[in-house]
């Protein structure tokens, strides 16, 4: 057999194929997110989900998400977001928790502020929960905007008015009653809109020759 370009090409292809045939491709889980990526997502705040967006999902009865309340059980019993499940942060890695958390769903972590939910996010994110978010501002902000939404100024743009109207309208549903006092251990900042990416449920891609 002569050393034509074709034979060299086919030969190296077969060698590569043999290498791959004996290599443990299926055992390699690059799924693990690197520290660099965790920092990146924390830095650009793409791990936050806004209260209004969560409220929309509740109202739409979106089946593809879970709200996980990581405060202690007493706080949860006093008041919790409709449909949320209580998993106090100390039981985050208990075996029964593993059964509750559904990595196929969008998971939203809720604490009083951002801090504890952010810590839980950091712990859970490397464990294969890809669509994992922190409720921006936590319960303090949630109770604030839905029980007593701040009225926008006269010069407010349409978007701000819509947000205000939505908060007012959604308030009774989100709060149950209007007399809930925000539990407060963390001071929260007024959330600003952040760029955030959500995995689309299933994106149709067309391809062809």
């Amino acid at each position: 057999m002569n050393l034509s370009a074709k034979n060299i090409g086919f030969g190296s292809l077969i060698i590569m194929g043999i290498i791959l045939a004996f290599s443990p491709i299926d055992d390699i889980h690059v799924n693990k997110i690197t520290t660099h990526e965790l920092v990146h997502q924390l830095h650009n705040q793409s791990n936050y989900m806004e209260a209004e967006e969560v409220a929309h999902m509740i109202i739409d009865k979106d089946p593809s998400f879970q709200i996980i309340d990581i405060r202690n059980l007493d706080d949860y019993k006093k008041y919790h977001i409709p449909g949320s499940v209580s998993i106090p942060i100390e039981t985050l890695f208990a075996p029964e928790t593993h059964d509750i958390l559904d990595s196929e769903k969008t998971i939203i972590l809720v604490s009083n502020g951002n801090t504890q939910a952010g810590q839980a996010w950091l712990l859970l994110r490397p464990r294969g929960y890809e669509d994992l978010f922190v409720l921006h501002g936590g319960m303090n902000h949630w109770v604030n905007v839905f029980s007593n939404p701040p009225k926008p100024d006269d010069g407010a743009i349409d978007d701000e008015m819509f947000t205000f109207q939505f908060r007012k309208a959604a308030g009774p549903v989100m709060m149950g009653t209007n007399n809930v006092v925000a539990a407060s251990d963390n001071q929260i900042d007024k959330p600003k809109p952040v760029k955030r990416r959500r995995k689309k449920a299933s994106k149709k891609v067309d391809e062809g020759c």
């Binding site: 086919f10 292809l13 791959l20 443990p24 491709i25 690059v30 799924n31 997502q41 990416r197």
Partner: protein, 196 residues
């Protein structure tokens, strides 16, 4: 780590620009391979010019071996890459219809665009026909919806289908591709001789 888009390294807008660049270069190389000519494409079905088969298998093998090694090196997370779900009956019937159109018209959807931009009139007719077909399909969708969704196997890959490891499937597809190359050239010689 790839896929870059899924890991937020660039925005949707950047993604569109990259898609545009990829699309343009795809069209360019199709044209360079001679796929802007329906004559060349149609010869495939008479076994006289197996370029289409060779180009297709080259791209399959290059992409497959590349992704396999990238996975091995931990450069790409294949679980984050979108895989088209398989609707086996819908795709068998759709593939047959597309094949008939390919033989009759001498183009497939991508190459007809390449033909059209290089000024081939038959490609314009082909494109018009394809658009008309899409319109008809859209209008009668309620009647074909059951067929459209038939044989759903999910986002399945050959390793899962045959219950083999990914590496072994890669090796088998490489052997298949090399076999196709030699088989294609054998057919080319045979049918050219008959013609002569």
């Amino acid at each position: 780590m790839a896929p870059f888009y899924k890991f937020d390294y660039f925005s949707e807008g950047t993604g569109f620009i990259i898609a545009l660049l990829l699309g343009v270069s795809f069209g360019f190389w199709l044209e360079r391979a001679g796929f802007g000519s329906s004559k060349k494409l149609a010869l495939q079905f008479y076994f006289r010019d197996m370029t289409v088969l060779k180009v297709m298998f080259t791209s399959i093998v290059v992409a497959m071996v590349g992704l396999a090694f990238f996975t091995l090196f931990g450069w790409i997370d294949m679980t984050a890459v979108y895989i088209n779900p398989t609707y086996i009956w819908a795709q068998v019937i759709g593939g047959l219809i597309l094949g008939v159109g390919f033989v009759v018209g001498g183009y497939c959807p991508g190459t007809s665009v390449v033909g059209a931009v290089t000024g081939r009139i038959d490609a314009y007719f082909f494109l018009g026909g394809a658009l008309f077909g899409m319109f008809i399909f859209g209008e009668m969708f309620p009647w074909v919806e059951d067929l459209f969704l038939s044989g759903n196997m999910g986002a399945i890959r050959l390793p899962e289908l045959f219950n083999l490891s990914t590496g072994v499937v890669v090796f088998l597809v490489i052997l298949l591709a090399i076999g196709m190359f030699y088989g294609g050239e054998w057919l080319e010689n045979k049918f050219r001789e008959e013609e002569a």
